[in-house]
Symmetry: none
Amino acid sequence: MRVTLISIGDELLIGQTVNTNASWLGKELSLLGARIQEVLTISDDADHIRRAIEVTEADLILVTGGLGPTKDDRTKKVLAKYFEMPLVLHEPTLKHIEDFFARRNRPMLQVNIEQAHLPDGCEILPNRWGTAAGMWFQAKGKSVISLPGVPYEMKGIFSEEILPRIVERYSLNALYHRTVVTQGLGESFLAERIAPWEESLEKLDLSLAYLPAPGLVKLRIGSFRGKKDHDIIETKIQELQSIIPSLIIGYEDDTIALVVGKLLLKNKATVGTVESCTAGTLASALVEIPGSSGYFRGSLLTYHTALKSELLGIPLSFIEQHDVVSEEVSLRMAEEGRKRLKTDYCLSTTGIMGPSKGDSKDEVGTVWIGLSGPKGSYAKRFTFGDNRGRNIEMTTLAALNLLRLSMLDS
Amino acid sequence: MRVTLISIGDELLIGQTVNTNASWLGKELSLLGARIQEVLTISDDADHIRRAIEVTEADLILVTGGLGPTKDDRTKKVLAKYFEMPLVLHEPTLKHIEDFFARRNRPMLQVNIEQAHLPDGCEILPNRWGTAAGMWFQAKGKSVISLPGVPYEMKGIFSEEILPRIVERYSLNALYHRTVVTQGLGESFLAERIAPWEESLEKLDLSLAYLPAPGLVKLRIGSFRGKKDHDIIETKIQELQSIIPSLIIGYEDDTIALVVGKLLLKNKATVGTVESCTAGTLASALVEIPGSSGYFRGSLLTYHTALKSELLGIPLSFIEQHDVVSEEVSLRMAEEGRKRLKTDYCLSTTGIMGPSKGDSKDEVGTVWIGLSGPKGSYAKRFTFGDNRGRNIEMTTLAALNLLRLSMLDS
C-alpha cells in the first residue's frame, strides 16, 4: 500500500509551523504496514492543490489542512470540483456544529454553517473535536482522504475513523522494527565494525537504517513481513550485542540519561557532579528525568579556577602545576566532589569549550572527564571540535557514558 | 525566485525524525524574499531522487540529506549521474577531511576518503562542521544545491556559503524586517496591550508577526518595500518602547542570557547561582555564551534538601519551619550563595517541577526565585504548569529576567 501525504498551508512553507502532522501520520501509517512514498507540502493555492491531487499516483492520498472556515481554506472546494461532487448540506454535520457552539455558549456564524456543506458522494468522517468534517473520496481511480490541519482534530479523526477502515479495506504487512541505540563510535566507524553483520541482514531481506543524533547512532532493523520476523530480528540483535557489547546503551527511545538513571536506581547509588566546562549541563541532563531525586544529590559548578580551590580545597599550586585541564585536576575534582556531596559516584568535567582558550594551555575542544566511585577513580581525555554548544553536549553525553560503563563493570 | 525544497530520508517519511530542516530553510529563504513553492520529502531511493530532480520546475532546487558515508546515502551519486559529472578526488576537501580526523585524534576510513570524491563540474561548498561537502549544480537548465541532512552542518553551509551567493546571484525583494524580543507577557495579553499600536502599523502597510517561543514573544515588524522603510520602522519601534519599556529585553536574535551577560560585563559585575529545582539549567544558560567567564564564577546545585544545609549552612529546622519552597529559603539560598561564591549577584531557585511533589507542601508548578545583590535581597513567587521540562525552562528565563530588571534599576 503506497501512501502519499499532502500537507497544505503557507505557514508550513515559510517555516512558521513545523510539519509535525506529516511525521505523526508517517509513523502511524508505517506501523500499519503502509509505505509512505512521499510527503508533499504545498501552499493554500487552489491550482496547486488540484494539480497535486491530479499527478499523484498512490493507493491512498492523505491530505491535511485547508478545511477551516476562513478564506484561505480551499481544500474542500477544490476536491468537490475535481471529483465533480456538488456541495450539499449534510444534516448530521450541521447538527454537530450547532451542538458544538451551543455547548460552548458561543454564537454560530454563517461561515460555520457553510462547513456543513459537503461534497455529495464522498464518505463523511465525523470530527468530534472541531467543526471541519473529514472526507474520503473514491472516484476517478483515486482514493483521497481530506483532514483538517489542526493536529488534535486530525489525530482524533485518523485514530477513530480512518485507522479501522484502513485495516478493513487494505491487506497490509506492517513494517516491524526494533531500534538499537549506540553511543561511543561515529556512524562510519560503527558501519565498518558491523559490516559483516549488516551484510547478513541483507541476505535475510531485513532493512537497516543508521539514524545519527548528536553523540549517538541509532540502528533501526526492520522487516516488511511484519511481526512474524520478530524472532529473527531478536536473534540478529543478540548477535549485534556480542559484536559491540559496550556500545549499545539501550533500545527504542532510550536516552543515556534515562539508562544511567535506571542503573543508579537499580544499584541504589547516588550521584553528584563537579563541573567546570559543562557548567550544569551534565547535572540538568540527570535531572530532566522524573524521579531523579532518587539518585541525584547536587553539584558544585567550579567554573572559575579560583572556585576549584575555594569550594573543593584543591591548591592553586596543584592546578598550576598540572594545568586546569588535566588528568590530575579532573581526578581531584571528582574525588573532592564525592566527599563533599556525599555521593556514591561523582563525575567531573574540565575542558576548553571555545571559542577562546581560557585558563588552560591545551587546545580548544580538549576535555578531561573524571569519575570517582566506590571502586576508585578514573579519568579520560576527549578531543571534540570547535563548536562551543556541541562540545558541551558531547562532553555531557561522554560523561554519562563513562558512568554507565563503570556501573556495568561492577 | 521560486524555490523547491527536497528532503531525502526514510526516517522523515516514517516519522522517526521531524523535518525541521525544511522549516528552517523555509524561514531563511522567505526572509530573503524567495517563494517556497513546495517541500517534497522522499525516500533514500536512487530512482525517487532522480525523478524528483527531473520533474521539479523551480529557479532553485535545494536538496538536503543523503550525503553521509554509509550505504543508504545516495544523493551524491544520483546527482553526479544525472548531471553527467564524474566523481573525482577534490584535494581541498580531502585535506579538510584529513584535518578533521587528525584534530579529533581519530583514524580516517576508506568511506571518509570517498566523501572527498565529488562531481567534476559542480561548485563545492565547504563544510567546516563535518565531512560531507555541499554542492551547487548549474546544468541541464537546472540549479540544484545539495546539502547534508545533519541540521548544524546544513545550517552552517547555508549561512556561510549559500546565503551570500543567493543575495549576489538573484535579484530579490527581500522582506525588510526588525524583530523586537519581549518577555513577561503571553501572546494574547501582549496583543491586547499593544492593539492601538498594531493598528497604526496596518495603516502604514507594515506587517506584524507574533512569533512565540517558550517564555518569549518576538514581534517581527516587516515591509516588502525593503530597506527604504528603515526609518519608519525605527520610529514605530521607539513608540513601542514607550508603551512596554520593561517588557522589551532585546532585538533580533537576542536571548535573555545574552542580554544579561552584556549588562554584567558593562557593570563589571559577577554572578553565581544556587539552584535546586533548575539543577544547573540556569548556570548552563549563562555559560552558553562565549565570554561568559568574564562574569560567571560558579554555582552550588543543592538539589537534595540536605545539601542546602551542608553546603549553604541553612539549618534544617529553618527549612522545615518555612518549607523548602518558600520566600525565606530562596532568600537565604541567594544570600549564602553570594557569600560562598564571592559574586556581586547570586540567583537562587527552589520549586516543585513535577510530576511528583518532592519535599515541599506546595503545589506542582510553584517556584520561588531569589536574588541577592549589592543593594540587598529580593524574592518572587511564580506559578507555572505541570510540564516538568517546561517548568525548568520557564524558571530559568524568569530568573534571568529578574537579574536583568534589577540591573536596569541600578
